[in-house]
């Protein structure tokens, strides 16, 4: 299966030549970036054929010696396929959106170089079956993101980027220390191999300490509640297309995916019994506090950033339930959130593009002048607040049902309450920005250009139709294999190494 490395090779190769060619040909980077991401999107959808299998690819052809892996393993299972689809579909729409959106920025070539590198990093993280390899690709994605957040080189984006870098850097170093302990403990870096060893080891203090280091590091990357300080600054200050990528994909892959993979598949529940409780606490905290902080925001993108914290809280909360239904809800919500949060950030970008303002109170009646943006943002808002029959409704329903089923009645109540609060602040956005009388200053505002509209419409259609994924035929292909991977826990070792 030489399909796996292509997910990393293609964006890397595309990124390496971009700086050279974009010097001679101004428009090169636009279609080059779109071409690369379109190819990757098709490739990721093609991988759906293999979603029920576990494919292992050893880079360099280094097969295990005496059952101990010596090279770097790339692993593709159901969860990886799901994440690859999320990453590459959103990435394609982001590049499409960027074609018009970048009109206000200089130096497209560098934007696409960094974007492709970020894409390569995210794909690499998802495909990696090796702790250190995961770290390296995490760093590629992170460094590209730091630079992209500061892409506007204005005072506030630089400040946000620095804050993000300090916390992100501390997180990376903590993760690296975790890997050092991990290696000291097991003598291997392969996740599946280590998982086998952890199963024999049981919950010794060394294992727990290593786990804590990873938990802190990846929670920082995910922006969960006690570790969220960078997030509400970084998302609003970045260009909207990058905010969409970061909120929709970045923090999920670097944070949530890595947390799930490491704690469910590598350490396993037997080793860290109190882990589920930690997930529940972190999830509930992020969910509730994020929503209440969002309620008071006047800045469109800042509100979306707090809402992201709250929605990621839902996902972690669902994983913390630990039941198959909860895991299904968590993964499904992850997918939904990627779609509608990217859509909403695109909408905010469109509003900024057309009016130059982010403050909600200065807007009003924009739907009249920008029908596409207005309608799609309405769809996104309804989906995020969980109105049937949109995608967001189903995932929240599953999560709340799973919470009730596993006996967490109070927490289920909190989740419902947060959902109502979410509806509240999104209706506020709709009322302030898109409905009501059109402000005099915006009489001449025009709808955004075609490519931006296309990507918004595609995402709106997706969030309308995502509920269909629960149909048994589709569920079997997309969601169930991923749920199975998380649910099997340490069975991951057998799936990867065989026997």
């Amino acid at each position: 299966m030489s399909l796996l490395p292509l997910f990393v090779i293609v964006p890397l190769g595309a990124a390496f030549v971009t700086p050279i060619f974009s010097k001679f040909w101004k428009g090169f980077s636009d279609w080059w970036g779109n071409l690369a991401s379109a190819f990757l999107m098709v490739l990721s959808l093609w991988c759906l054929r293999f979603s029920t299998e576990t494919i292992v690819y050893y880079a360099g052809g280094w097969e295990p010696v005496d059952g101990i892996p010596v090279g770097i393993a790339m692993v593709m299972d159901g969860l990886t396929v799901l994440m690859l689809i999320i990453i590459n579909v959103i990435a394609f729409l982001v590049t499409l959106y960027s074609v018009n959106f970048l009109k206000n920025y200089t130096d497209r070539g560098k934007y696409y170089t960094l974007f492709l590198l970020m894409l390569a990093g995210l794909n690499g993280v998802v495909l990696s079956g090796d702790m250190f390899n995961l770290f390296v690709f995490l760093e590629i994605a992170a460094i590209a993101t730091y630079a992209l957040v500061a892409f506007g080189v204005e005072a506030e984006s630089l400040e946000a980027s620095f804050k993000y870098q300090v916390l992100g850097g501390a997180a990376s170093i903590t993760i690296l220390l975790g890997i050092a302990f991990f290696y000291h403990l097991t003598g291997t870096l392969n996740m599946a191999d280590a998982s086998r060893l952890f199963a024999d080891m049981g919950p010794s203090p060394a294992v727990i300490f290593t786990g804590i280091l990873f938990l802190v590091g990846f929670s920082l990357k995910a922006g969960l509640m006690p570790f969220h300080a960078w997030l509400p600054d970084a998302y609003p200050s970045a260009p909207a297309s990058i905010s969409a990528m970061l909120a929709g994909v970045g923090s999920k892959v670097l944070g949530v995916y890595a947390l799930i993979r490491i704690f469910f598949n590598v350490f396993g529940m037997t080793v860290m019994p109190s882990l589920l409780t930690i997930f529940l606490v972190l999830g509930t905290l992020s969910m509730a506090v994020g929503a209440f902080l969002a309620l008071g925001q006047k800045d469109f993108k800042r509100l979306l950033a707090y809402s992201s914290i709250s929605q990621i809280g839902y996902c972690i909360f669902a994983f913390g339930l630990g039941t198959p239904l909860g895991i299904l809800g968590g993964l499904f919500h992850l997918l939904n959130h990627s779609v509608f949060k990217s859509l909403l950030f695109f909408n905010s970008g469109a509003v900024v593009y057309a009016t130059g303002k982010r403050n909600l109170e200065s807007m009003g009646g924009l739907s009249q002048r920008m029908p596409v943006t207005g309608t799609t943002s309405l769809v996104g808002s309804l989906s995020v607040s969980g109105i049937p029959p949109l995608g967001g409704f189903w995932s929240k329903l599953i999560i709340i049902y799973a919470a009730v089923e596993s006996g967490h009645h109070i927490l289920a109540g909190v989740a419902i309450l947060v959902s109502i609060v979410t509806l509240g602040y999104y209706m506020k956005v709709q009322k302030l920005a898109f409905f009501g009388p059109l402000a005099a200053a915006y009489q001449k505002v025009k709808e955004v250009p075609a490519f931006m509209c296309i990507s918004m419409v595609v995402l709106a259609l997706l969030s309308l139709g995502l509920g269909l994924l629960l149909l048994p035929q589709l569920r079997e292909v997309i969601l169930d294999p991923a749920v199975k991977v998380v649910e099997q826990g340490m069975g991951y070792a057998e799936m990867v190494l065989g026997g």
Binding site: S2, F16, Y57, G60
Partner: protein
């Protein structure tokens, strides 16, 4: 940044070529002795940095120089990427050491270990150009009082 005194300049003239040579040696012998593409590449960058520091940054400001650094950087890493891809093109594995599997070469000799020395050279070009690019962008950058 202005250049430094005549003493510094003369010593730089003496030192720079030998540093460059040492860098190239370390890159080439990465698979035999300690060192390799990274250490050697940084040394090569260090040689150019030394020249810029001694002779002043007027020299480094030219766009041509900046473009050369960017180009060599992209070229070096593209070469490394391509070497990694060779195995895949040949129908084996990504990052397969295609030469070593056929003929390992004589141990302890310069031409041994398959693609490892080639990778070292590619990395050496990339790292040297990358660090020099970082340095000149930072040096050329002028903080403006715009408040």
């Amino acid at each position: 940044m202005r250049g430094m005194t005549l003493i510094v300049k003369s010593i730089t003239q003496l030192m720079a070529p030998s540093i460059l040579l040492l860098g190239i040696y370390i890159v080439m012998h990465g698979h035999l002795t300690p060192g390799g593409g990274f250490a050697g590449g940084i040394l090569i960058a260090g040689c150019f940095v030394l020249i810029v520091l001694a002779y002043g940054s007027e020299e480094a400001k030219s766009e041509v120089r900046k473009w050369r650094a960017t180009f060599s950087e992209s070229f070096g890493i593209f070469l490394f990427w391509f070497l990694a891809l060779l195995g895949l093109i040949q129908g084996t594995y990504f990052f397969y050491n295609i030469i070593a599997k056929v003929n390992t070469g004589q141990p302890y000799h310069l031409f041994s270990a398959g693609i490892i020395p080639l990778c070292n050279i590619a990395i050496g070009i990339e790292v040297g150009a990358a660090l020099f690019a970082i340095f000149i962008t930072l040096v050329v950058f002028k903080v403006e009082e715009n408040l």
